[in-house]
């Protein structure tokens, strides 16, 4: 399992968001302005600015009562059309799921992983199509049946219609989601035996920044490359000066856990290091590694007992280190991790490989300090909140598309955006940045035609430059698309919960929240503008 432990940079995200949204709205306003001039001539600009002021006023004079009326209407409509039969499907699924999921011969954490993954995936995939279908059909059906005419001939603004519909569908989804979440949690508690339930944990990791020393003990950008194409980890050579160094910040009393027997505070270091063997050696024994606490300002280096890293053993390696470490040849010296080894809350830990000619693989998330655990229920709740954010984003997208086009088209468009955002956003980003091997569209066609593999460079000549120039056009389109399609994988927090981790706010919930708000706010404005300037009775 790999997590991105880097906290979300709110300010940088906000600046980027403002740039993109500013460009989109500038384009919309310029097009609208030109269209008004084309259709109304000299009166066009005045009409445009009158409508602009009216649009601003619409937002300033919104009525919560009217929005709530439309929200309730949407909820009633869906509930009376028996949308909550989705619950029956869910119950049927979990009634029989136990037959296929239960395997008492498996390790408890693997059982937990399977149950949690199944539950959260099922909930996500059940709720998403339902809310997308409802949201895509709501306003177009209203227009088709002309019931919207009776609404907009009351003092109802179009933004109130859009918001009322969004909140209504969201309320339906929320009720369904909460019900499924609670039922799913209760079902897991009942289905798992007592021993397995013990593995329902929510570990709270504190990640540090990683840096490297090479074999000569000099600073390096990364460790050795052992030829593994999977470049997530890099390696430190055994019995050399190579080190992987973690710098943890914000270490205080709360970073320590109390020993259940002695009550003494201790530091829990959890690692998931990898091993690369340059020779087979004794496979029964792991590779030896060692932690060293370093405080450069006080000239202290305190190493603790080595530990084994076994590549064939599943699960994480947890080392418990008492806050007061005794060290030295006869353990006559002692150092307090917080008072002596940490420098103003900053703690540096070096990791070295002690087995000669073997390699220890590490990445930033491979070592963390484990804080006192949170409850599994809260972690599960956060994952449900992640699904809720994904659902909200899908609803806003669907409702706003349905303000522009009819139900089937809106559903198709929303479906495409959701599938790309959920499964192919990473690839999209790669294509947009030009990191995909084999070049762009034209270059790809030429390579296929000439049977040239992607890793063979094209000859540097004017033809190559021409091909690259042409390829920049579709690439630009993909770059724009990347900003208009949300990365829905941000909302999937199943991995955290299934692997027994608490979902961090800064690296988990915050980017998801920012993604949701970042896309929903401009979409709502665009949906409102589309509905405001749409003739509901147009033939």
């Amino acid at each position: 399992m790999t997590f991105n432990p880097i906290p979300f940079d709110v300010l940088a995200g906000l600046v980027n968001w403002a740039k993109v949204v500013g460009c989109v709205f500038a384009a919309v306003f310029v097009i609208a302005f030109l269209l008004q001039i084309a259709s109304r001539g000299a009166q066009g600009p005045a009409f445009f600015f009158r409508q602009l002021v009216a649009s601003v006023m619409d937002w300033l004079t919104m009525s919560p009562r009217r929005i709530w009326a439309l929200t309730l209407l949407t909820f009633r409509e869906a509930s009376r059309r028996k949308v909550f039969t989705i619950g029956v499907i869910f119950i049927v699924l979990i009634m029989f799921a136990g037959w296929f999921l239960g395997d008492s011969t498996e390790r408890p954490e693997m059982q937990v992983k399977r149950y949690v993954s199944f539950m959260l995936t099922t909930i996500g995939w059940l709720i998403l199509p339902v809310v997308v279908i409802l949201s895509c059909w709501g306003i177009p059906e209203d227009i088709k049946a002309r019931s919207l005419h009776t609404v907009v001939t009351k003092p109802v603004k179009r933004n109130e219609v859009v918001l009322g519909r969004i909140f209504g569908f969201n309320l339906i989804g929320t009720v369904a989601l909460l019900t499924m979440g609670v039922a799913g949690y209760a079902w897991m508690m009942r289905s798992l035996n007592e021993e397995t339930r013990g593995s329902l944990t929510a570990r709270v990791p504190v990640y540090g920044e990683i840096s490297w020393l090479n074999k000569q003990g000099n600073e390096a950008l990364q460790g050795d490359n052992v030829g593994d194409i999977w470049t997530f980890r890099s390696y430190i050579a055994g019995n050399t000066k190579a080190r992987a160094i973690w710098d943890f910040t914000g270490i205080d009393e709360d970073s320590f856990r109390k020993n259940p027997q002695t009550g003494e505070p201790e530091l829990h270091l959890e690692s998931t290091f990898n091993v690369f063997r340059s020779f087979k050696g004794d496979l029964e024994r792991g590779i030896l590694a060692r932690y060293t606490f370093v405080n450069d300002s006080r000239g202290l280096r305190v190493s603790v007992d080595p530990f084994e890293v076994q590549e064939f053993r599943a699960g994480a390696n947890v080392m418990t280190i008492p806050r007061k470490i005794t060290y030295g040849p006869d353990r006559s010296l002692s150092a307090d991790i917080l008072d002596d080894l940490a420098d103003d809350g900053n703690l540096r830990i070096e990791v070295e490989c002690l087995t000669t000619s073997q390699y220890l693989g590490a990445a930033q998330s491979d070592l963390f300090i484990r804080l006192p655990e949170q409850s599994f229920a809260s972690s599960f709740g956060k994952a449900i909140f992640g699904i809720w954010m994904m659902m909200t984003t899908a609803i806003v997208l669907s409702v706003c598309l349905s303000c522009v086009v009819k139900g089937p088209v809106a559903m198709l468009a929303a479906g495409c955006i959701i599938v790309i955002g959920k499964s192919f956003w990473g690839f999209l980003a790669k294509v947009a940045s030009g990191d995909v091997e084999g070049g762009g569209v034209i270059e790809g066609i030429i390579r296929i035609h000439r049977h040239i593999t992607p890793n063979v460079e094209f000859q540097e000549d004017s033809r190559r430059q021409l091909v690259e120039s042409i390829d920049k056009v579709p690439q630009l389109y993909v770059q724009v698309s990347r900003y208009l399609i949300p990365d829905l994988s941000q909302f999937n927090m199943t991995e955290y919960v299934a692997n027994g981790f608490d979902i961090p706010f800064s690296a988990g919930l915050l980017p998801a929240l920012a993604t949701m708000l970042g896309f929903c706010i401009p979409w709502i404005f665009l949906g409102y503008l589309a509905l405001k300037f749409r003739e509901l009775e147009s033939k």
């Binding site: 009216a54 619409d58 009525s63 009562r65 009217r66 709530w68 009326a69 309730l72 209407l73 009633r76 409509e77 009376r80 059309r81 049946a145 002309r146 019931s147 005419h149 009776t150 609404v151 907009v152 001939t153 009351k154 003092p155 109802v156 603004k157 003739e535 509901l536 009775e537 147009s538 033939k539």
Partner: protein, 321 residues
């Protein structure tokens, strides 16, 4: 805008275009119209004449291609004007999964009415449209007449100054039609302005003060109903039953004044009046049935009916076809 004019259109035109912006049809051509405060105005015309387009332009459901429309002093596209407007669409486009109580509560909320006011107003309107007993039934279970009535109730939820009615009597039985017409007249008595579109010309004639007739998107006729319908070439005198001698004397008088005697006859009542009388009598005397009368009874009934004799006389120089 004229201070008396509640609705004013100036060169209002609408052209429907296709997806590519090509002109499909000119539905309304340069309509100039004023509807004054406190009157009932009828918009007439054959199918496709542009009357529904006019109504939708006035409601802001369509945008004009040229010209402008003002309602209650605001542009037709201004949402604020809707605060003082009530609209009954042709087909009562309501949410069929709601019951009538929920329907009125929903539309009341859209006017930002507080709960107490919504409740009071709903009660009053349900009583007015005689749906108190059916208040808990979903609209999908309603007959067409009931749907029209709840549609009217929602149009009046805000006690509007201007009521726009599209085919108000469509789907109503004669009793409901009469109630609707009484209600429209009652609205005028309360000082409200009513604009109605209808195909039922007798209904328009019964209630409207002024009418406009549209054809092919153009205004063809505009004026007060009685002035438009008055036949200046015929004089009508109504008296109680006259003897044959008296009729002969009148004919002589008409001839003496060089006028042509056209017709002497007993008037007939309307089918609507007969229907309403029958239904009301049935309510007063339940169990009464129709029994075919004997010959002598038929004779007496004929005498009783001969109470009024209209006498029509034309000017001597007028056509008497």
């Amino acid at each position: 805008m004229n201070s008396e004019a509640v609705i004013e259109t100036r060169s209002l035109s609408k052209v429907y275009r296709d997806f590519w912006g090509r002109k499909k049809v000119r539905a309304l051509n340069s309509l100039n119209l004023e509807v004054h405060r406190g009157e009932i105005f009828g918009l007439l015309g054959p199918n496709g004449s542009g009357k529904t387009t006019t109504l939708k332009l006035l409601l802001g459901l369509l945008f004009p291609t040229e010209g402008s429309a003002e309602i209650l002093g605001s542009p037709a596209t201004d949402v604020v004007k809707n605060q003082r407007i009530g609209y009954l669409p042709e087909e009562s486009y309501l949410y069929r999964f709601l019951n009538s109580e929920e329907t009125l509560d929903f539309y009341g909320r859209l006017f930002n009415m507080p709960r107490k006011e919504r409740k009071e107003r709903s009660e009053k309107l349900l009583e007015l449209v005689k749906l108190t007993d059916a208040r808990k039934r979903q609209l999908r279970e309603y007959s067409k007449g009931m749907t029209r009535r709840i549609g009217l109730a929602q149009a009046l939820i805000n006690d509007p100054d201007l009521v726009l009615l599209d085919e108000p009597t469509s789907g109503l039985d004669p009793l409901g039609t009469r109630d609707m017409k009484d209600l429209i007249l009652n609205l005028r008595d309360q000082g409200k302005t009513v604009l109605m579109c209808s195909h039922v010309l007798s209904d328009v004639q019964d209630v409207c003060d002024r009418v406009a007739i549209l054809d092919s998107g153009e205004l063809k006729v505009l004026g007060r109903v009685e002035e438009l319908l008055k036949n200046q070439g015929v004089t009508q005198i109504r008296t109680s039953t006259l003897s044959d001698e008296a009729v002969a004397e009148i004919k002589a008088v008409v001839a003496k004044h060089n006028s042509e005697f056209l017709e002497v006859d007993h008037p007939t009542t309307t089918l609507e009046d007969l229907f309403l009388k029958t239904v009301r009598d049935a309510a007063d005397r339940p169990g009464q049935r129709y029994i075919p009368p004997s010959e002598s009874e038929q004779g007496q009934a004929q005498d009783a009916a001969d109470e009024e004799v209209p006498v029509a006389a034309g000017d001597s120089d007028s056509d008497s076809e």
